[in-house]
């Protein structure tokens, strides 16, 4: 395979560049007006005004004069919502954390619950950064979630912080990790320990990082999806929206808590496989039907990816889709009196 040369070879110029004596500066370009934008290779930026202005406006081969075009279009500032908050940790990477919250097996006691945080490499401590809490399925360790959901890359591309949340380990029943979706929703829903845990983690992260508190989202799979769905409603003043993959609900939550709903139409994204053998797609349909009955509009308030050929599995290839939808729907700004 030989070397291929395309284009015009440079001609060695027996020339000496003029000096940079600012006093003697002559703001002009030898090639100005020849119909070719010669910035920045042959003319200093801003000196081939007629040619470059016309070239930039024409939409021609901008790669050759992008700097010239950029020179004439100063960059815009940061968006207004990129305001700093109280976060003090200016570190990227992974960290483990622990919060002490009520013990669902004995509400008079407390229990340590853990989480692992992923702060993307391009985290900018000057900018408020969205937060996504990921809730694993029944019996699944929160450490499994990074590879299972493939969220690190989505977090880096879209500049959000990810928290992999741990379910309470239940010693009294089967020795397993499980969300407290099987709660007594009729008697004391506000005491659900998972809601306390989620709020505690958000508060901790908001104290440590510059979190965009209008963009805190829950994302769950299976039983974690059930908890994400619940959290979206029970914490609708904190959680902007939720992703419900292979989700369901049980123990009368819908009928008990969502018979009516006067609150905000919390943005929701549902993903469910038609071939899901564990949580049949009809259970996902039920959730969607329920919120439609409460007034949610498809495409506006919720999305439903009802996927043929998919079983009981998180769908990493949809991470970008649900992020795009939720990120555009932050918590509304509180209006003054």
């Amino acid at each position: 395979m030989g070397k291929r040369v395309v284009g015009v070879l440079a001609v060695t110029a027996l020339l000496v560049a003029a000096g940079c004596d600012e006093e003697a500066a002559v703001h002009r370009c030898e090639f100005a007006g020849d119909g070719v934008c010669d910035e920045p290779a042959n003319c200093r930026l801003g000196t081939d005004e007629p040619d470059c202005t016309e070239a930039c406006a024409s939409g021609g081969p901008t790669y050759l004069f992008a700097a010239a075009c950029a020179y004439r279009e100063p960059p815009v500032g940061q968006p207004d919502d990129a305001l700093p908050s109280n976060g003090t940790l200016h570190l990227t990477g992974h960290r483990d954390g622990t919060v002490v919250v009520p013990d669902g097996e004995d509400l008079s006691a407390t229990v340590e619950r853990h989480y692992r945080v992923f702060v993307p490499p391009s985290y900018d401590p000057r900018r408020a950064t969205p937060l996504v809490l990921v809730l694993p399925g029944h019996r699944v360790s929160h450490y499994d979630l990074a590879s299972y959901t493939e969220l690190p890359r989505a977090a880096e591309e879209n500049k959000f912080i990810v928290v992999y949340a741990e379910q309470q380990y239940r010693w009294a029943s089967e020795h397993r990790w499980a969300w407290w979706t099987d709660w007594s929703w009729t008697t004391h829903p506000e005491e659900n320990p998972d809601l306390a845990y989620i709020v505690a983690v958000i508060d901790r992260l908001a104290a440590e990082y510059n979190i965009d508190l209008r963009r805190v989202f829950l994302a769950g799979h299976s039983r974690g999806a059930a908890m994400a769905f619940i959290g979206a409603f029970e914490l609708s003043d904190v959680v902007a929206g939720a992703v419900v993959e292979s989700g369901f609900n049980e123990f009368g939550y819908l009928a008990t808590r969502l018979q009516t709903w006067e609150g905000r139409k919390v943005p929701l994204v549902f993903v469910h496989g038609v071939q899901d053998p564990d949580v049949q797609v009809g259970m996902g349909d039920t959730l969607v039907d329920w919120i439609v009955g409460l007034g949610w509009q498809g495409g506006e308030d919720y999305l439903y990816y009802r996927l043929d050929g998919v079983t009981h599995r998180w769908q990493p290839w949809l991470n970008q889709q649900w992020w795009h939808f939720l990120n555009a729907r932050p918590l509304p700004v509180e209006e003054g009196p």
């Binding site: 284009g7 290779a41 020179y71 340590e112 890359r153 998919v310 990493p316």
Partner: protein
């Protein structure tokens, strides 16, 4: 790659560029100078015209199966014209030249490892040959055109990665490893960030294209959409769309993303430390009239640090040694650490200031476990049915043969114990091995002055039990055994804290999803209880100062019985072995081949 050499023309360009925007005003008489590089296909791989199968036939993925199938169906035949593809991802060095000669701050971003100098842009020192990242699709597309090339189509990218034979990964059908790709194994990151292009030659395609899996994922030309039906000639994706396709997976991504058919869409305006690109060339790339020639970078004058305070990475454990393949057990003798590498069937050592692990002994058939007795190392060679003594000078002596199923060792002062299929064996000094108990499926051993504690799964007269063997002689004493609970969990680790009269043991739930519980037994007759839980264990617990440490999937666990709290040490890791002393903890990572140290 930038052509070597310096021309007067290039020097002239630099002199001009060195005049900043507010000064200069230089007049350039005579011949125009190049603003774009020469096209050099020597640094590209050639792919002749032909057909290949793109995408994947749908197959039922199983109840929890791979999601990667769904947007990769159907398989369809694609015929491509002849094309060339960059052997390497576009580097920081190359992109800085693009910024200097063409793009300026239009495609500069402070997250890129590039800094401004008076005459343009230069790479951050040390990042020159890393892949450029934090680039938009537009920047990638314009770079390639500036270079006299174009972005590869998705079909070209897949043809190069999968070959006409349809490889699962660029190198073949075997799964990835940190030697083949820079990626996230699921338990451990191979590297903290993208590495120099071509750093994984074992992961190259047969044609010599590097890093198609891992390092950084790569923008390709096409808009993202599900595949249509039918065969295609030179497809370039839909004519309109919102997102562009990214291929190949980056250092933040897992094995499924490294597959040759895996695809996803992303906002073309997005920038990521995980995404870069490479360029392609074909007959469709015409002469664009660009003035091409050899380009030189600007002088390193007036270098300005990035104007954004990049958040530094959270501190990670110190690297004590690296360059291993699959390090597992680690033993500390004197000032030196010894590591068993089960992929190489060899023992390595390290110590002092160097982080390079040196070979001590090899040639084992299936080196499975290793301990020290205070003076020497002992290696269980399961396949050979042997136990070997390895001196710290590297001399290997077989001390026991015909040890069927030897899989577990425990070292005391001047003595060593091991477990075979059905026996527990003791070797003192240069004496002969002695069977001290008949126990099947021993899962761990822990030595104390008077007893050898053990855990076992099942077999013979013993079933899922924890017990101890008197070293003075006598039958094993069962401390905890088969119960209803144990039919679900079985013991896998034991550790004794005689100062606290406490025996700790780990129970594991087999199958998926599995987890480990740490339990303790009062050796003074006070009963037993379970205290903590973790993901599955990778090593027996170690005790230092009354605190327990063990390796678990994804992390290293510290548990303090005093207040019954546990925490996690280190970052993501697939720890394979652990050593604890008064200064800190040292653990191996089976995936990235390193040994890490956390000081107290």
């Amino acid at each position: 790659m930038r052509a070597p050499g310096t021309t007067c023309a290039a020097l002239l360009v630099l002199a001009i560029l060195a005049c900043d925007d507010d000064g200069g005003g230089d007049v350039t008489p005579g011949t125009k100078l190049p603003s774009a590089p020469l096209l050099d296909t020597d640094s590209m791989a050639h792919f002749p015209a032909g057909a290949f199968t793109m995408g994947q036939e749908y197959a039922y993925p199983g109840p929890y199966g791979d999601p990667w199938l769904i947007d990769q169906v159907p398989a369809h035949e694609v015929t491509l014209s002849e094309f060339w593809l960059d052997a390497h991802e576009v580097t920081v060095d190359e992109f800085a030249l693009f910024l200097t000669y063409a793009a300026g701050w239009r495609h500069f971003h402070p997250d890129q490892p590039i800094e401004r100098v008076e005459g343009g842009y230069l790479p951050v020192v040390g990042a020159e040959n890393q892949p450029i990242r934090h680039v938009t699709w537009e920047a990638a597309e314009q770079y390639c055109r500036w270079a006299g090339k174009r972005l590869p189509t998705e079909a070209e990218w897949e043809r190069a990665a999968a070959g006409v034979e349809g490889r699962e990964y660029p190198w073949g059908d075997d799964g990835p490893s940190c030697r083949r790709a820079v990626y996230f194994t699921g338990q451990s990151y191979c590297e903290d960030g993208p590495k120099d292009v071509g750093s994984r030659p074992e992961g190259a395609t047969p044609e010599g294209v590097f890093d198609l899996a891992g390092n950084v994922a790569e923008w390709v030309y096409d808009y993202y959409a599900r595949y249509g039906e039918g065969d295609e000639d030179d497809p370039a994706g839909p004519e309109i769309g919102a997102w562009r396709v990214i291929r190949g997976g980056g250092y933040l991504e897992v094995a499924t993303s490294l597959r040759t058919r895996t695809r996803r869409g992303a906002d073309p305006r997005s920038r990521s430390n995980n995404v870069g690109f490479r360029c392609a060339y074909g007959a469709d790339v015409g002469d664009d009239g660009a003035l091409r020639g050899e380009l030189e970078p600007p002088p390193d004058v007036g270098r300005a640090p990035t104007d954004r305070p990049l958040a530094p990475a959270a501190p990670r454990p110190e690297i004590a040694a690296e360059g291993l393949t699959t390090p597992t057990k680690i033993v500390h003798l004197g000032d030196t650490f010894y590591v068993l590498d089960i992929a190489e069937d060899a023992v390595y050592w390290f110590g002092g200031e160097s982080t390079e692990a040196a070979l001590l002994a090899d040639g084992f058939t299936e080196a499975f476990d290793m301990v020290g007795d205070g003076t020497d190392l002992y290696v269980a060679d399961r396949e050979a049915g042997e136990v070997a003594r390895v001196s710290t000078g590297g001399a290997v002596t077989i001390v026991a043969e015909n040890q069927d199923g030897v899989h577990l060792l425990e070292g005391g002062e001047g003595e060593v114990f091991w477990a075979c299929d059905e026996d527990v064996v003791r070797l003192v000094g240069d004496g002969a091995p002695e069977v001290i108990a008949v126990i099947a499926e021993v899962t761990d051993l822990a030595i104390t002055p008077d007893h050898l504690y053990f855990s076992a799964n099942m077999g013979g007269d013993h079933f899922r039990e924890v017990g101890r063997i008197p070293l003075a002689g006598g039958d094993p004493e069962i401390l905890a055994e088969d119960t209803d609970f144990y039919t679900t969990y079985y013991p896998v680790g034991v550790a004794c804290d005689l100062d606290a009269d406490t025996l700790y043991y780990q129970l594991i739930k087999p199958g998926w999803p599995s987890n480990v519980e740490l339990c303790r037994m009062d050796l003074d007759g006070g009963g037993a209880e379970c205290l903590a839980h973790s993901p599955p264990s990778g090593s027996r617990p170690e005790i230092e100062g009354g605190v327990l440490y063990w390796t678990a999937s994804y992390t290293v666990v510290r548990f303090d019985p005093a207040d019954e709290t546990y925490s996690h040490l280190g970052d993501w890791t697939r720890a394979g072995g652990l050593a604890v002393d008064g200064e800190g903890i040292v653990f191996t990572d089976r995936d990235d081949g390193r040994v890490y140290r956390v000081l107290w």
